[in-house]
Each structure stands twice: as C-alpha cells, then as structure tokens.
C-alpha cells in the first residue's frame, strides 16, 4: 500500500502557515510547527518526507533547526526546503551549508512551491519503492 507523503511546515508566522496549509490542501498529509524547537519535537514521530522550513524565527532559527535535523540519524535523509524572505546569495548559501536541499525565497509562487514539493516527494517515493524492491528480492 502506498504511504501518503508527509510534509512538516515550520514557520513562526501564522499567516505564512495558513498560506502553506491552503496551498498544500488535502493532497498531502502535513503538520505545522511554529518554531524550530517545536519542529524538532514533532519530526521524529511524524517522520516527514519533506520539511518546508522558515529561516527567521525566534529561538533557534531555520539554519540551526536544519543542522539539528541533519544531526539526527533518523531524519538525516529527509528533504529540507528552506522558505525564507532572506534572498541574498550568501544567505541562501548559508542555508545549503546548514544542510538544506533547496531554497525558496518569499514571497514564492504557489506553482513553483507545489512543483518543488512534487519533485522532492516523488523522488522520496521512488527511493522508498526501490528500497522495498531490494528488501523483497
């Protein structure tokens, strides 16, 4: 049976969360966290395939959250897309350094966001299928 893809949304701004939730709609299973700390708490149980991570947050910021997620063996391979208003190349590079797979600047285009989500999730799906095949044979 095919597992429904899971997305973890992390943003301290409720409006931003509402936008993401509205965009992703019913197609995906998602959870929302309003801080990096909350995201780190939810992620191990929720086992997301993709994390959409805001950068500027109170407490630990997106970069640090990303690093900590990568440090967790159970979450090491989850796809992380940073979604931030920080648009400078240096800021984007810091995101990649922290372990992000991709970087999206706010305000983002809905279609681009959904396309990225689709691409990363289908890859994850494919990976999972291959793993299952290998395990089966």
């Amino acid at each position: 049976m095919q597992r429904q893809s899971r997305i973890l949304l992390v943003d301290d701004n409720p409006t931003n969360l509402a936008i993401l939730e509205e965009m992703l709609g019913d197609e995906y299973r998602w959870e929302a966290a309003t801080s990096g700390e909350e995201a780190l708490e939810i992620a191990p149980d929720f086992q997301p395939d993709l994390i959409l991570l805001d950068v500027m947050m109170p407490g630990i910021n997106g970069y640090e959250t990303c690093r900590r997620i990568r440090a967790n063996p159970a979450l090491r391979n989850v796809k992380i897309v940073m979604v931030s208003a920080k648009a400078l190349v240096s800021e984007r590079l810091e995101g990649y350094d922290a372990g992000a797979d991709d970087y999206l600047t706010k305000p983002f285009d809905e279609k681009e966001l959904l396309a990225k989500v689709r691409v990363y999730l289908s890859r994850e799906q494919m990976k999972r299928e291959i793993m299952e095949m290998l395990r089966g044979s």
């Binding site: 701004n13 409006t15 509402a18 936008i19 509205e22 965009m23 500027m56 109170p58 706010k106 305000p107």
Partner: protein, 476 residues
C-alpha cells in the same frame, strides 16, 4: 731666584721621586732596575731642559744646570750599559748594577748639593708644594662642582620644561587613544621636536576624527540598509498573506463554500490590518526621528492618563481573565508632558503586558516619585526578556525571541516609545522581575516642569543626552 723654587706642580713631584730615592736605596734590593731608572733619568732630563727653555737663568744657574745635565748624562750612560749587560750576563749585570747604584746615590746627593738644598729643605718644599697642590686641587674641585651643580640644575630645569610638555602631549595622546576625540591638542609654534610632536599629534587627532566620521557614515549606511532589509521583510509578510489569500479566493470561487471564502477574507483583513499598523508605526517613527512630530506639552495628571489607557484594555483583559492593579500614589502626579504621546507609551507597554501575560495573570501599574522624576512601572507575569535582549528590544524590528511567536506587533512599538521619551528628556527601560515577568519603566523628569527652574535643574537636564533615553544599563 732659586732654581728649585721655579719648579712647581709635577716638576716638584718628579724631584720628590728623585729625592725619595736618596739614602733609601738598599743595594741588595736593587737588581736589574736599569729600565725604570733610565726612564726616571729621562724624565728629569726632560724637566730640567724644559725648565731651561721656559725661564731665563742667571749665569750661575746656567752653570749648575750644565753640571746637572752632565751628571745625568753620565748616569744615563751607566744605566744604558747596565741594561745592555743584562742581556749578556745576569751575574755581571748584577754586580755592575750594585756598583752603578752606589754611584747613583752619589749622583743624587751631588744633585741635591748642586741644587743647594738640604734634604730637610727639599722635603719641606715638597710638603709645601703638595699642600699647594692640594689647595689648588680643592679649588678646582670646588669650582668644578659648583659649575657642575649649576649645569645640572639648569639642565634639570630645561628637561623638566621639555618633559613637562612631552608629558602633556602624552596625556593628550592617551586621551585621544582612549576615545576622547574632543581633546584639545596644544600646538606651539616651536620649530624643534616638541613642536613636531604637537603637530604630529594634531595630525593624528585629525585622522582619528576623519576615521570616526567615516565609521559613523558607514554605520549609518549599514543601519539604513539593515532597516530597509528588515522593513521590506516586514512589509512583505502581510502583503504575501493578502495576495495569497486573495488568489486562493479567486481560484476557488466556484468550488469553495461561503465558510471557506469567509476564512480567506478574514485572513486578507487580518494581514491588511497588520500592514496598516506597520505603515502607521513606520510613519510615526520616521516623523519622531526626524523631529517632525509636533509635541503639545501641558500639565496633566499622569494617573488620569494611566487609568484611561487601562480602561481601553478592559474588554481584552476580561477576555483573557487578566487583572490590572493600579495603586494610586499619594503625591501630586501632575506633570508637564504631551498627554497623547505618553498615553501612546503607556498603551504600548500595557498592550505588551496583556499580550505576554498568561491567562488569569496580574498586571501591576505603579507610579513613584524619584528625586528628579516620576517613575511609571508596568509589571507583568509573562516570560520576561532574555538578559541579552534587554537593550535590543528597543531597536527597530527587534522583538524578544521568547515572545515573538504569534504575538503580532510590528516590532516598532518600543522604538516609538523610546523616541517619545527622548522628546520628554526622560528614559525607558526594562528589567526582569526576580519573581518572573518583565517590568517596563518610563521616567518623566521633573525639571521639564518649570521653564524658570533653577540653574541646578537646568544643568541636570543639560546632562541628559538622547543616548540615555532608552537606558538599558539600568537592568540588573
């Protein structure tokens, strides 16, 4: 005039050497002394000849001198022979030296005889000349030491004057280096090193000021670009909300039910209000910072204002089951201020307190009289402000990391309060309460009160600078 009397100083010393050998020579002691003796003979010869060169001798003296020199020459040749023989045969030389020595003693005696001096006379003369020598030496020493002392005194004085100036310049230097850039550099017209030093330090100061200027300009540029970056981010977020939810509405018009559409409109409204508040705050702050905000100062009871502001929050307080405790003080709380602006400050602080208080929490408003001011405090039971952010939360767009989540607010409220307090020559700051929660203070100085105040009061306010207004050091 006696020939001998003409000898003085070192001449006398040489004669004394000569004399001291008279009668003291023990033959047994004298071995191979040809060389030193020859040296002595040379010396005496030289002295006698130079004596003859310098003074006009009488015939008699001249004759004696001739005899003396002849004896010396004879004795010299003996000594030379002794030295020469020494190199041939030591034993023979010894014998010869003994013989020569006997003659030497004779020579000396003859010598003294020639000089018409008895041994006692000679010794007396030597003593006399020694005394004279000592006296002269003493005079020379005394004169020299006086001269030296004078010279030292003068040089100490001069070096004091110079080093005083150098010390002054060093003090100026270290003041400059310590950041007192207004330090006056004393520059003299001197053409020497001291003048150069002064001019050098002046150049140093000018370059410091130049650096300071460019640093400030850079800082201002950086602050400006940081502000712009922050502002664009803060504006973008609500705008993003408005646009996104409007788009969802457009996309889903046909399929979404009225409840869903209402949700979109509410979100649009919410974001629009946030945007409006942000723009209002930005405009307020810009006007305050550029000094374009009109202030209307008048005498008002601050307690009335605080009560009024507190009333505005009644419904919100009830909703969150919060209570406000306002203890009215027992002194005259009428102060000169712009009531609208002070209400804005109070509103801001109270709104923060309400926002960050836990449900059922207690907010305390206090008014107390300080030496030169009236102090208002707003105490909440929230999470408090992290120590490292006590200062920063008064900066633009800075919100406490503990409270930002979902709390809304533009991040400009406290910056505006700060500007308002600057205009009142007062201060605003925050401390953490030991029992938990934050206490915000703002202080309105009493010396605003009377335009015709005493000098002292004026001075107290003169010491105030805008940098003090958002005083954060006060926090424990």
């Amino acid at each position: 005039m006696n020939l001998f009397a003409r000898l003085s100083g070192n001449h006398a010393q040489i004669f004394s050497l000569l004399v001291s050998t008279v009668g003291q020579r023990d033959e047994e002691q004298i071995y191979l002394e040809g060389k030193p003796r020859l040296y002595l003979i040379h010396k005496i010869e030289y002295e006698l000849k130079s004596l003859r060169d310098r003074y006009k001798f009488s015939d008699k003296e001249e004759r004696r001198m001739g005899q003396l020199l002849a004896r010396l020459a004879e004795y010299k040749s003996q000594s030379i022979s002794a030295i020469e023989m020494t190199s041939v045969d030591l034993g023979v030389a010894n014998k010869y030296m003994r013989k020569a020595n006997g003659e030497y003693i004779n020579v000396n005696n003859n010598f003294l005889g020639l000089l018409e001096l008895t041994k006692e006379n000679t010794l007396r003369f030597i003593k006399h000349s020694r005394q004279q020598f000592v006296r002269r030496t003493a005079i020379v020493v005394i004169v020299t030491s006086i001269a030296m002392t004078l010279l030292m005194a003068i040089s100490i004085h001069v070096s004091n004057v110079l080093s005083g100036q150098i010390r002054d310049q060093i003090a100026v230097m270290s003041r400059l280096a310590g950041g007192e850039k207004d330090t006056l550099v004393p520059v003299s017209d001197r053409e020497d090193e001291i003048g150069d030093l002064g001019r050098g330090i002046l150049a140093f100061k000018e370059s410091l000021l130049e650096q300071e200027k460019s640093r400030r300009a850079e800082e201002a540029m950086r602050a400006k670009s940081e502000f712009l970056a922050n502002m664009s981010h803060e504006l973008r977020t609500p705008l993003h909300g408005i646009l996104s939810f409007a788009r969802f509405g457009i996309k889903n018009t046909g399929k979404a039910g009225p409840q869903k559409l209402l949700g979109y409109f509410q979100k649009i409204n919410e974001s629009g209000n946030i945007l409006l508040a942000l723009l209002n705050d930005l405009l307020d702050l810009a006007k305050l910072e550029s000094g374009k905000t009109p202030f209307e100062f008048r005498r008002v009871d601050i307690c009335l204002l605080l009560a009024k502001v507190s009333d505005e929050f009644n419904s919100l307080l009830a909703e969150r089951r919060l209570t406000v405790h306002f203890s009215t003080p027992d002194f005259n709380t009428e102060l000169i201020m712009d009531p609208e602006k002070i209400m804005q400050v109070a509103r801001n602080l109270l709104s923060n307190a309400v926002k960050f208080s836990p449900k059922g929490g207690r907010i305390e408003i206090g008014v107390s009289r300080e030496e030169r001011s009236v102090l208002v405090s707003v105490r909440d039971q929230g999470v408090g402000v992290p120590e490292e952010e006590l200062e920063r939360i008064f900066d633009k767009f800075v919100q406490s990391s503990k409270t930002r989540t979902g709390a809304g607010g533009t991040g400009l409220g406290l910056s505006i309060c700060c500007e308002i307090m600057i205009a009142h020559r007062g201060r605003i700051w925050v401390e953490n309460s030991p029992e938990g929660g934050a206490v915000f203070y703002f202080e309105i100085p009493l010396d605003m009160q009377d335009e015709t105040g005493t000098d002292q009061v004026v001075k107290a306010s003169d010491m105030w600078t805008p940098d003090d207004a958002c005083q954060r050091e006060h926090a424990v």
